[in-house]
């Protein structure tokens, strides 16, 4: 089973859209790797620097509600993937973005508002890191000398896509 998680990147806002994750002008790229430098380039958020090492060193994104709204562009999950981010933790997702994540074998995990608040309690810790066990439905966040664990649910289909490594091989073998 693929390892999910890593250093946390906190994006404290709802409705972060796909244009903010990867602007449309980069949709002319035809390989995923070419997207790499443009991660979250147009996201304006107090205290957030799209060019910082922290952004590019992250392994997991923690954010609020309706993450990934807007365009169907799978470039949004891809720009995370090529930067080593394979899981997004949010209170809710836009449908297409959520499905794109699982279709790529990554994880878009919905947590309660209260759970998200608890995760944001670690936002001040420079060393905040999350480990996610998709199979067991558990995650642990560590940082600033503290540690907390919580449970989550993803649908059996989404879990199967993660295990299969994505939707293309799953579908081609089955249908």
């Amino acid at each position: 089973m693929k390892k999910f998680g890593g250093p946390a990147l906190f994006l404290d806002r709802s409705d972060i859209n796909t244009d903010e994750i990867i602007p449309a002008k980069y949709l002319t790229e035809i390989t995923k790797e070419d997207l790499k430098p443009y991660l979250l380039e147009d996201l304006k958020l107090p205290g957030f620097d799209p060019k910082s090492d922290k952004t590019f060193g992250a392994g997991v994104v923690i954010t609020r509600a309706n993450f990934g709204c807007g365009s169907s562009r799978e470039h949004a999950p891809w720009v995370f993937e090529v930067n080593g981010i394979n899981v997004v933790l949010a209170q809710s997702f836009a449908r297409i973005f959520r499905q794109n994540m699982f279709n790529c074998g990554m994880a878009a995990i919905e947590l309660s508002a209260e759970q998200i608040d608890r995760l944001f309690g670690f936002a001040g810790a420079a060393d905040a890191t999350v480990d996610v066990d998709v199979e067991k439905g558990t995650l642990t966040i560590k940082g600033g000398g503290r540690e907390e664990s919580m449970q989550f649910e993803i649908s059996p289909f989404d879990k199967a896509l993660v295990l299969a490594g994505g939707w293309v091989d799953y579908a081609d073998s089955k249908y």
């Binding site: 147009d42 807007g70 799978e74 649908s155 289909f157 994505g166 939707w167 293309v168």
Partner: protein, 427 residues
């Protein structure tokens, strides 16, 4: 208990239910454009799966950046073009015949009530205007659609939105959908189908219904849907007259896709629009909606009339009616992009293009262009656009630009005054 249109379409297209709550559906129409499809083609080739499940069910168009603006977009266009030729995809639309996908494909008669439709474009929900289940998907779902003709969905719940009363003069489908999105919020319909009904929808043209359904995604909706009726049959008649003995027969056949009277909805929203005023967005989210009266006087640098939301002939007629004999203000530039070559030709024949050009509009070829800041009318830092498009995200039409979404009538009035203006005084 009766069923909704979406439930009926799901039941009729069910291929597999690998897990409770996940429905794998057969897809009737897989649509492709040159931005999200080439990377799917490249991936299929790298996997040794360069196949298509049924070339007659695949429709493809180069529309987002056309004519190509640089070597990268030329490569994307070439990849789609070569792929369409390689797989004998006959419904492929290239320069000279290409238009904005969600305007072009309905115009070609590709969508039928009861169809399942996917495309790697979030505004695919537009096609729900025909009583179809039409959903935007990412490239991987598109890839599987191309390869196997299937797509997986959670069965969506349905929100019924009744548009009651009659639309006042100067108020159009665009104002109605902005009202609905303002009511639902940007994620109020996530994993839901928005089913539009009521007296106002019953009287709407197919063009107006497409404008409604086009923006279902702006409330998070999987699809928008209107019930197939006589208006649907009349629109489709040139394409289906060989299949049915009469329009009555076609109507009877398509009516099976209407929601049952006792269908169960998650939520029913009744909106009386008899007193609705022209609306406009004010922020960076499509649910940030105010009346045009409240926004009047907001200076604009550019007016954009076009896109899959409002680039249809009906839209051009409304705007031209306001612009006839007038000039755009000196502080503003105005761009018209008719959504398809047919619309362009019809607009020329009706004298509409003359009106736009006399008023001072720049008329471009059909393209998605400025709507998503890819070509033909991108804004500079700090510029403001009054736009008939569907999305007002920060920087959408160019980094640092501001977009106000509004109707073609309001766009025309705003062009004349050089600031956001109420169209009713010109009608």
């Amino acid at each position: 208990m009766g069923m909704t249109t979406a439930q009926k379409i799901f039941a009729a297209h069910l291929v597999d239910e690998p897990f409770a709550g996940t429905k794998v559906l057969s897809i009737d129409v897989v649509m492709c454009h040159e931005i999200t499809t080439p990377i799917a083609i490249a991936d299929l080739m790298s996997r040794g799966k360069d196949r298509v499940f049924d070339p007659s069910k695949i429709k493809a168009v180069i529309d987002h950046v056309t004519p190509s603006k640089d070597s990268k977009t030329a490569t994307q266009a070439k990849m789609l073009r070569d792929w369409a030729r390689r797989h004998d995809i006959k419904d492929f639309f290239d320069i000279g015949a290409n238009g904005v996908c969600h305007a072009l494909f309905p115009e070609k008669g590709f969508i039928r009530p009861g169809n399942t439709v996917i495309m790697g474009d979030s505004h695919t929900c537009t096609h729900g205007a025909f009583g179809a289940f039409a959903a935007g998907v990412g490239t991987t779902d598109l890839e599987v659609g191309i390869l196997k003709g299937v797509c997986a969905f959670r069965e969506p719940k349905t929100i019924r939105v009744n548009l009651n009363g009659t639309l006042p003069k100067g108020v159009f489908a665009k104002d109605a959908i902005l009202r609905v999105i303002g009511h639902l919020g940007v994620n109020g319909a996530t994993d839901r189908v928005i089913e539009f009904g009521g007296p106002i929808v019953a009287q709407m043209s197919m063009e107006s219904r497409m404008t409604l359904c086009n923006m279902a995604i702006e409330a998070g909706g999987t699809s928008g849907i209107c019930m197939p009726d006589q208006v649907t049959v009349d629109y489709l008649w040139p394409f289906i007259s060989g299949s049915f003995a009469s329009k009555e027969e076609a109507l009877a056949a398509y009516s099976v896709w209407c929601s049952d009277a006792d269908a169960e909805y998650e939520q029913v929203i009744d909106l009386d629009l008899s007193d609705l005023a022209p609306l406009c967005t004010f922020g960076y989210k499509p649910d940030q909606v105010k009346s045009v009266a409240e926004m009047a006087g907001t200076q604009v640098d550019q007016v954009y009339l076009g896109s899959c939301t409002n680039g249809r002939l009906e839209d051009l007629r409304i705007a031209a009616q306001i612009l006839k004999g007038k000039k755009i203000a000196s502080n503003v530039r105005a761009i018209l992009s008719p959504a398809t070559p047919q619309i362009y030709k019809d607009a020329v024949a009706e004298g509409l293009i003359q009106i736009f050009m006399d008023a001072g509009f720049c008329v471009t070829n059909p393209t998605c262009g400025a709507c998503l800041g890819m070509s033909n009318g991108v804004l500079a830092e700090g510029e403001v656009c009054a736009s008939t498009t569907n999305r007002n995200f920060m920087g959408r039409m160019g980094k640092g630009g501001m977009v106000h979404l509004l109707s073609p009538a309001t766009a025309a009035a705003s062009a004349i005054e050089g600031m956001i203006a109420d169209p009713r005084k010109y009608l």
